[in-house]
Symmetry: C2
Subunit: 338 residues, 2 copies
DNA sequence: TTGAAAGCGCTAACAC
DNA sequence: GTGTTAGCGCTTTCAA
């Protein structure tokens, strides 16, 4: 900037003013400065500006993995919403492991953003609690999180209930639920707690049965799968081999539902005639599964809108009690359960 | 840092030294400093450090969209590879539009990273050429890019050739190719040029036919679809309605192939018995399509490894001619064409 | 082993 | 309208 100033025969300050359009600058001066900028190929140093300004116009979204489609789509929603407010979104991957999440956060890496949205799978209450909150931090997910953080969660139990009620409503009586690692068949004492999302969804399965006065067969809780299509496929094939004969399957994520569809196809069962299937997440691709996958829509855009709105209010200096929101969910019925 | 120094009764410099473990610092001093850090909850200001150091240990990957699975999986590969070299990866979305890409890049936003990997869909030669290269910039994609940039591209024509040759080899004689917006049926004079990826893949379709002495029916070039499952589904349904009766379909992306599978299912055609299908990208999910989708694997990990290796060498100050690499491709055969 | 000075590139505040 | 001064928080350099 000094070079530009010298070349244009003005002070650094004038250059800065021209570049930011802040003060009224004489037309001739302006032109000379812009010429100098051009000739020297000058580009402003954002790092310096930030150091000075104490803000970066950038919000970070930390997700466990980029390639879990749910998070990719969530990131897209956030990018749009953040852009609507004149900021940029940057996405970083925590690696789903506790360590990953922390190293991405703790080492003051946080501080280089105006605000952080953290999808907190894998962090314990205490770890979240230990995060300093020099800037707005919004937590996403199902953790029981410290009161002082803003928190947006999904209507997990409610969504699962909708899905299973729909399956029961169309006549299914042996609805299996395909769930993640931390949820085993009743009484297995599976290791609890990393992320209760799936537990909540399985809970919705129970509630739905209770709603209509049915007692579900707990052996139909197919837990322990990884949160992947592969994991779900294996667990379903095993269940079929064991003679569990479900007439419907609720998978706690769409990715897992794809694995369920693949497994049923492997086994020569027709969807939805022999077995109906419903997922959770309503990924864009679910419309194109074969058959089209019924799924619970968790309202990603809604999540992004709410989270960003909270962030903007905090950044504007507004003071208010920590926000605690739960998304409205909605069941989208397609061929897999029609 | 001043506060910490004061509290510990030392100078800022000593605090800095303790925090960075750079100089030998007396054990007692060290302890006092760390105590002060703890008590004050001090966290280093990375922006300031960066301003001083001129480096940020962060590499940016700019992709058109987060929620195109190909890019999400690419980002994951890059995150791993970059982490292997002790840096962080940050992903930003360009919006696929020319404007998006430029605003993400030009305004010196680039400069805040040690290096940038740009998936250049949508930029013209001149626009890319105008990018200053104060730091390493690796281009991904099929652009004809200025010589001075390092460039990693996919073996598009070769991959498509493999795919179509496979289909012809198993007896197909009416292989349709489902392609993107810029590729119309021969003679339509479709607007060329935004991104020649798809053109290259359709070219491979021609080459494969030529390889075995066949002349393809150009009406089987189903171009003009958006690069989405939806677009592909529509274009295939239209082609079926028009009586084109393909006995195999090569889709230029896996996402589009999902749309093809959905369309064939809609039309009551069996895959692979009535129509075989092959995609391109080998997304993780393609193994779980129904039936499993045969696809060309473009070697994302290979791309990431090469690109990051180039970056590291440039950052280490090594001088060498711009690198120009093409990934080795490989056909993965699954149920959709078995 | 520790510290003082200087400066990375920018801009707010205040002259002129 | 334009310039001067000071300082954001850090680290390199060199002296003590």
């Amino acid at each position: 900037m000094s070079d530009v100033a010298r070349r244009a025969g003005v002070s650094k300050m004038t250059v800065s003013n021209v570049l930011n359009g802040r003060t009224r600058v004489g037309e001739a001066t302006r032109r000379r400065v812009l010429e100098a900028v051009d000739e020297l190929g000058y580009e402003i140093n954002l790092t310096a500006r930030r150091l000075r300004a104490g803000r970066v116009d950038t919000v970070a979204l930390i997700v466990p993995r980029f390639d879990h489609t749910y998070f990719a789509e969530l990131a897209t929603s956030f990018a749009t919403e953040v852009a609507n407010h004149g900021r940029h979104l940057v996405v970083a991957q925590s690696g789903a492991s506790k360590e990953g999440e922390l190293s991405e956060l703790s080492l003051a890496r946080l501080r280089q953003y105006d605000a952080v949205v953290l999808s907190a799978v894998g962090l314990t209450y205490d770890e979240v609690d230990s995060l300093s909150s020099t800037q707005p931090l919004v937590l996403l997910g199902e953790q029981d999180v410290p009161q002082r953080f803003d928190h947006v969660s999904i209507g997990n139990a409610e969504g699962a209930r909708l899905a299973v009620r729909h399956l029961l409503g169309r006549g299914a009586r042996r609805v299996a639920v395909v769930d993640g690692p931390s949820v085993g068949p009743a009484g297995t004492g599976a290791p609890g707690g990393l992320d209760p999302t799936s537990g909540l969804r399985t809970q919705g399965w129970r509630t739905a049965h209770a709603d209509v006065g049915l007692v579900p067969d707990e052996r139909l809780v197919l837990g322990g799968a990884l949160y992947t299509a592969q994991g779900a496929r294996e667990v379903v094939l095993r269940a079929l081999a064991a003679g569990l004969a479900p007439d419907a399957v609720f998978a706690v994520t769409d990715d897992m539902a794809y694995g369920v569809l693949a497994a049923l196809h492997d086994a020569g069962l027709r969807v939805p005639q022999d077995v109906a299937v419903v997922g959770f997440d309503n990924l864009r691709g679910s419309e194109f599964a074969v058959p089209g996958l019924s799924s619970v829509d968790p309202g990603r855009d809604w999540i992004a809108r709410q989270a960003v709105s909270v962030i903007e209010r905090r950044l504007a200096g507004e003071a208010f009690e920590p926000v605690r929101l739960t998304t409205p969910v909605e069941l989208v019925v397609r061929g897999s359960s029609a």
